[in-house]
Amino acid sequence: MKTHDGYFSRKQLSRLMLVLCGCAATIVIVVLILILGYTLVNGISYLNLDFITQPSKPVGEAGGGMRDDIYGTFILVGLASVIALPIGLMAGIFLAEFAGPRAASAIRFAADILAGVPSIIVGVFAYAILVRPMHSYSALSAGVALAIIMIPVVARTAEESLRLVPNSQREAAMALGISRWRMTLGVIVPGAVTGIVTGIMLAVARIAGETAPLIFTALGSAFGVQGLTEPIGALPLQIYRYALSPYSDWQKQAWAAAFLLVILVLGINIIVRLVSSRKKI
């Protein structure tokens, strides 16, 4: 009888703890829904056509939008990609195709450490090497900061996708007598292109929402986009500024901007995952 009771309470405990595990997962999903729900509902109620077609207005004037900041975000992401993609891809090719085990683990380690560096420190670095010597906040320094965040992500995902290309393809290409670099660029990289593009898109989604490295590199601009050596606005930067401002007009615009940014970032994430999961099946 006693053992029976003991078994019963063990079973109860088990059931209780398993239910708690389920609750934990539920909490996470509820938090996600709360954040997305507030952003989407608030954002869409403050979003209008002016918001994406008008430049920002000074405090006190009604209306205005974030046309220049949206444009600025695209410029910064483009600039960062132009810098980061060649470096990241070539480093990924080196890691997967050419590196000896020792060099590979050293560079892989450096890439992982670089990926773990807080983004604000990357911003300070860009400030130290570009803003300070050039005596001006600039789109260029912000692009470099975002690129540094992007490089390790691109390099590691490129490496992992290249490693998934079966060795038989390398052997087949070699047997035809082509040189190794042409084999790499003509056979191996195209074979891994889905994975590489997935990695690139996820990296783009990540840097599109980065704010910390932009505060003292891009700075923000009230005069639109003026060139790469001038300060530039960006959507996440403007969310930060407007959210902390005491003006309710600006706070509403912050929600609208958050709506656009969420759509952009989660949109890329969802599309990429759908495409890559379909490919696997």
């Binding site: 389920g22 938090v31 070539m90 450096a110 890439a111 450490i113 807080p118 130290a128 989604a205």
Partner: protein, 326 residues
């Protein structure tokens, strides 16, 4: 796991001499080029350390080690100390982990062992989406939705019921360490969940079956067989989360209240290293002030570096155990 790569010399031997040299030449150029870009990653990391040290030098030279123990932050008198920022960084991350670890482990166990098969993928997907939301948006939500909620029911209740503890004393501002900790928990839950789910899934099925065959309940199977088997991987997952929490900037800056003081109360506004740098860097003037902020960044870099290296070593060890076990 190094794949045996085909040897170029075989194909080179069979073609004529001119082709050989051209092929070899192209290969050498290309492999050197990729090596260059690989080394560039190392160079960026080294450059980061050198540049930060160089720009922080005025502060390092002036304050020496007392920078780490001083609580002063006075731009007018040019006295700077990092202790309140270090304290705030560690405290808010600790609160974050205390909240995040049980929830993350519970979710990971749920996703790996308990959830019906059809639920696992969508749930993992949703948790990954939480990781993808930009931190400034979580900060915006935190400031306008979460902080008012923390202020009136949560902190008021804690203050009146547990107010005898120094942790829960003082006026409920809403913004402060508690809010920052909760925001950090939200931001690190996805990464801890994802990594520990992977680690838990790596435990061989035989471990689970053996325990169940001995008559254990499912919970006993998890606590006595699965979790001990992958302990170091789980610690690594938590450390990865910690690395992220320590350096998280935007969301924390928006909800922590930006006060520079050592206070034991979780209700009081504070600052972290990242929030201090983010909120003051643009206004800073003079080499010493800027140097001090950059030295703060350097301290943060050192802390996250140690945490991240330890985390990677631990996760690698567990995942490579799986590799040899199969």
């Amino acid at each position: 796991m190094d794949k045996g790569r085909p040897d170029t010399s075989i194909s080179a031997d069979m073609s004529d001499n001119r082709n050989v040299s051209r092929t070899r030449f192209g290969d050498i150029i290309f492999s050197r080029l990729t090596l260059f870009f690989g080394l560039l990653i190392v160079a960026i990391l080294v450059g980061l350390l050198v540049a930060l040290n160089f720009d922080a030098w005025p502060a390092i030279q002036k304050f020496g080690l007392s920078f780490l123990t001083s609580t002063e932050w006075d731009p007018v008198k040019e006295e700077f100390g990092a202790l309140p920022a270090i304290y705030g960084t560690l405290l808010s991350s600790l609160i974050g982990l205390v909240i995040a670890v049980p929830i993350s482990l519970g979710s990971a166990i749920f996703l790996s062992d308990l959830a019906p098969q059809w639920m696992r993928k969508p749930c993992s997907f949703l948790i990954e989406m939480l990781a993808a939301i930009p931190s400034v948006i979580i900060g915006l939500w935190g400031l306008y939705v979460m902080v008012p909620f923390i202020r009136s029911p949560v902190e008021a209740w804690l203050g009146s019921n547990l107010g005898f503890l120094p942790l829960f004393q003082g006026p409920p501002f809403g913004v402060g360490f508690l809010s920052a900790g909760i925001i950090l928990a939200i931001m690190v839950i996805p990464i801890i969940t994802a990594v520990s789910r992977e680690v838990v899934c790596a435990v061989p099925l035989t471990q689970r079956e053996a325990m169940l065959a001995l008559g254990a309940t499912r919970w006993e199977m998890i606590t006595r067989s699965v979790l001990p088997y992958c302990r170091s991987g789980l610690v690594g997952a938590v450390m990865l989360g910690l690395g992220r929490a320590l350096g998280e900037t935007m969301a924390v800056t928006m909800v922590i209240g930006n006060a520079y003081a050592l206070s034991p109360s979780l209700f009081s506004p504070g600052a972290t290293i990242a929030s201090k740098v983010a909120s003051e860097f643009n206004e800073a003037s003079g080499d010493l002030y800027i140097g001090s902020l950059i030295e703060l960044a350097l301290v943060l870099f050192a802390i996250t570096l140690v945490v991240n290296i330890m985390a990677r070593l631990m996760v690698w060890r567990t995942v490579s155990v799986r590799g040899t076990g199969e």
